[in-house]
Symmetry: C2
Subunit: 198 residues, 2 copies
C-alpha cells in the first residue's frame, strides 16, 4: 500500500483541520501518511496569489468559515492573536526531525498546528516555539540549532520548489496515488477515492 502525501503550512487553518483527520482516515484504508511542511507564501507567489484572507470580501468570509468549519469538524479552534504568521522556523524543526524519525516530525506537525490554532501559541516567536518543542519532548537547544542551520534552510527552500514544480499552490494539499486534492473540504472526495478511484 502506498503512502498518502500531506503538504501543509503551519499557518494554514484548513491544514490544521485536515491534520486532525488525515492519519485516522489513512489508517482505515491501510495507508500511511508522508507529511511535508512547506511555506505557503512561496507557492502562492508562484500562483500569483496573495494570502487568501488578505483579499477584500474574501478575507472576512474566510475568518467566519475557519471558525464554522472547525465547529463542523468538532476541532477546538481559537482565532490566533496574529494571522498569518511566518512559519519557516517551525518547518525547519519539522525537516530536522523528519531526517531522524518521520513519526516524530508528524507529531510535531500536529502539535504545532494545534498549538497555533487552538491555543494561540505564536510559532513565529522563537521562545514560544522552543517552549512548545520542549513540551513535545524535543530538545530545545537542538531545535534552535536546526532553525539556524543552513542545511535545513536549504532543504525547506528545496521542498517549496518541489511543491511548485508539482503544481501545488494551496494547503492542505493531499495526493493519493497521483491524484491531487486541495483543501480540508475535499475529505469526502478523498475518502471515496481511497475506497475506489472514480
Amino acid at each position: 500500500m502506498s503512502t498518502i502525501d500531506f503538504w501543509f503550512d503551519f499557518s494554514s487553518p484548513y491544514s490544521y483541520l485536515a491534520s486532525t483527520w488525515i492519519e485516522p482516515l489513512a489508517a482505515r484504508h491501510g495507508r500511511t501518511v508522508r507529511w511535508h511542511a512547506m511555506l505557503l507564501g512561496a507557492t502562492l507567489a508562484a500562483a500569483e496569489l496573495r494570502p487568501p484572507a488578505s483579499y477584500p470580501l474574501k478575507g472576512a468570509y474566510m475568518l467566519r468559515d475557519f471558525e464554522r468549519s472547525a465547529r463542523f469538524e468538532g476541532a477546538p479552534y481559537r482565532p490566533p492573536p496574529r494571522f498569518p504568521i511566518a512559519t519557516h522556523n517551525a518547518a525547519r524543526i519539522f525537516w530536522w526531525l523528519q531526517a531522524q524519525d518521520p513519526s516524530r516530525a508528524a507529531a510535531w506537525a500536529r502539535h504545532g498546528l494545534a498549538a497555533y490554532f487552538a491555543e494561540g501559541v505564536l510559532l513565529d516567536e522563537l521562545p514560544a516555539l522552543l517552549a512548545l518543542a520542549e513540551r513535545c519532548g524535543i530538545d530545545a537547544a537542538q531545535a534552535q540549532a536546526a532553525c539556524a542551520d543552513p542545511q535545513w534552510k536549504a532543504h525547506l527552500k528545496q521542498v517549496n520548489d518541489q511543491a511548485i514544480a508539482a503544481g501545488i499552490f494551496g494547503a492542505p494539499w493531499i495526493v493519493v496515488d497521483g491524484e491531487p486534492f486541495w483543501g480540508n473540504d475535499r475529505r469526502p472526495q478523498i475518502e471515496r477515492w481511497l475506497a475506489a478511484p472514480y
Copy 2:
C-alpha cells in the same frame, strides 16, 4: 419557513453542480430557494481577484477538480468549448423571467447551467442562447428583447452591487438564515445547518 438564497453565475462550474442539489435539499427541510443570477466578474473585481482558473498552477488544478467534482456528484459534465464566457444575456433573461414567475426563472437557471456545462451550449452566442430559450418553452423574440432592454441591464447591475454589498465574492453563494456559505463543497455544512445551526 424562510427561503434559502442561491447566488450563481451561468459560467460557474461549481454553481452548476450546486444547481443540481439545492432544490431537493431545500425541499427536504421544508424550505424554498430564491435564485439570484449575478456576474461573477463584478464580485471578483470588488475582491481584487481574477477568474479562479486564470491563475498559474490553480487554473490547471481547477479544471481537473471541476471534472472530478462532477463525477463525485454524479452530474453529467463536459468541459465547455470555451471557458469562462460572458453571461450577461443569460442573466438578463433570468431576471426578466423572475419578474413574471420565479419558478420559470429557476428552471431557466438550471437549464442554462446544464446546457453550458454538460452539452457545451455557448450561452454567450445569442443564436445558441435563444435556441436554448425556445427549447425551454420561452419565447425567443421576447427573450432577445429582454437581453437588450435597459431595464434588465440596470437590474442586473443593481443585483451585482447588492451582491458586493452583501460581501459576496464567489459562486455559488448560499445564504441560510443569514449564514453565508461559499462553494459547492459546503453542502455538508449547509445540510447540517438546516438541521440545526452549529
